[in-house]
Amino acid sequence: MTLEIQNLHVRTEDREILHGVDLTVNRGETHALMGPNGSGKSTLANTLMGNPTYEVTEGRILLDGEDLTEADPDERARAGLFLAFQYPATIPGVSVANFLRMAVNAGREEPIKVKEFGQLLRKNVELLKISDDFTKRYLNEGFSGGEKKRAEILQLAMLQPAFAVLDETDSGLDIDALRIVSDGVNAMRGDERGFLIITHYTRILNYVRPEFVHIMLDGRIAREGGAELADELEAKGYEFVREEVAGRAG
């Protein structure tokens, strides 16, 4: 039961961004993917979800053995993949509650019962300390950065995917909001679910401790290790990885 990324090469219109990425996340595991700006982290996140802006030229994405490399984003979602966006879209005219209901129903044969949906929503709204009127507002319209991130995690909590990719969910959050979001993520961790937490900073990893840390540089995984790698990075910065990689190459 795994999310496997095999030798992934990805390009946009003008250039190749990922030059062969391998990464495996098993259910029950939490991985952190770290890297400086422009290293290809968000490209990986978007490619996993099937953003048509990015083209896979080589390699594969497998979810529990099923090849999703060419699948449409909605098929990936229904297969159990979720992406919390770094910059979530604003959807005018569609309330948070309505959107959630549609998203929940998209993954089900029979539409969810009104009462059951209400209970699920209430539970998660409380978990994420969201105010009641929040779910009546149009999705992300006029939301602060922190509210947008919280809306992403609310969707995660409602959809209960097998694998969740969090693309810089921590950036732009103050400490209180970061703690709430982290508590929410921790509450969802378990044997049946895998996480890939993409971040520029080590801050969120103090709240959501990963078992594995991968460092991405220039479109490749440059170093891998356990949670201690994040601590080392915190102490030494990305430059040390870069120098190390350069040293190895030389």
């Binding site: 048509p52 229904r78 879209a89 959807i91 005219g93 149009y138 969707q155 959809l159």
Partner: protein, 424 residues
Amino acid sequence: MPASPDFVEARRKAGLQAYEAEEVPTWRRSGFWTTTLRGLDLDALEPKRYEEGLPELDLGDEEHAALIVQRGANVVHTDLVDERIIVMPLEQAVEQHEDLVREYFGKRLPHDEGKFAAGTAAFWTGGVFIHVPKDIQVEHPIQVVWLIDEPGTAQWAHTLVVVGEHSEVKIREFFRAPDFEGQALHSGAFELYALPGSQVDVAHYQDWGRGQVYDLSTRRVEIRRDARVKWVPIHLGGRLTKQTLDIITAEDGSDMKHTGMYFTERDEHLDLFTTDRHEAGHTNGDTVWKGVLTGESRASYEGLIHILPKAPEVDTYLQTHQMLLSPKARGDAIPSLIVEVDNVKASHGGTVGELDEELIFYMMSRGLPRAEAVRVLVEGYFEEVVQRLEDPGLEELVRRRIAEKLKGAEDQVREFIGERAEAA
């Protein structure tokens, strides 16, 4: 038909002269838009009369204060529930309420504003007259229905509404036709006078179906001192629509809330010119128009705010948005402003664009198939204006109709967005 009073006959005669003197017009807009009636065979059309009776209708609301239905050239059904008000064929009102009709009839609708306005002044039959006497609060809407049942019909229409001082009323006008093969004409005149202190909520719901219905109409709303009119023109179908829609704050303290929407498909052609005309000071305006285009349709919306010299302290804005859902659709949405006095607050803005691929990706990433993502996004886009209707029955009707139209346009939308995604 019995002889009408002199003022009606005089207008018919003047209208006929103007109609005969004028060529069938072509309207050129913004340099590159042309609305032409070349395809319309006017001579083949005639007023058709029908027997009395209530045809089957879906009007959203279940209850009404009054219902009046004109089919082709004559009124076939009138049901007056709230007996404090007057709702009857205009033909009848010119006799029975001669003084009242004389005071308002054509006051804001000159007979010589072009060939079809003249034609309507000359040829109107049946017609609708609504009068709400002063200090009356009408609970349920007054429903007016214009039906064209078969090709070859010419419907020359006139609606006159006078809402008395401090009265409150909701009026719903429906324009309907089945999906027939062939041409028909609706040439309409609508005038509404909201007397001081009144509150009027008026919507025009146009859905002429897939037949070749040409709709050439002028609608004008005059708002007197401290009165307020909420105006909602909705266009959801018609082969060619050319309308002039003017709302006028005529006296101090009057207020307009103006909300429009349209959805064009296939080879439909829509040409709208709206004016928010502020003739008096201390008046407010709030206008939002939104449209969606599919197929090979054309839609031009031009919205003008005109503030006259004797109208200081006006606070008004107009915004217009247009969304293209097909590579072959063409449209424009042009807001403009003429201000002839200092000391006003007026702003306007407009956008024309396609559905954002990033939004579709976002929706799909939550498990929604592309077609459903598009449907939800377009419905969401309209929702802002739908909410402004503040009328659950009408809101439901509009939502349902837009959903049906989107379903019809699904393949085209998918193809369009697919093409764009590949090009990206």
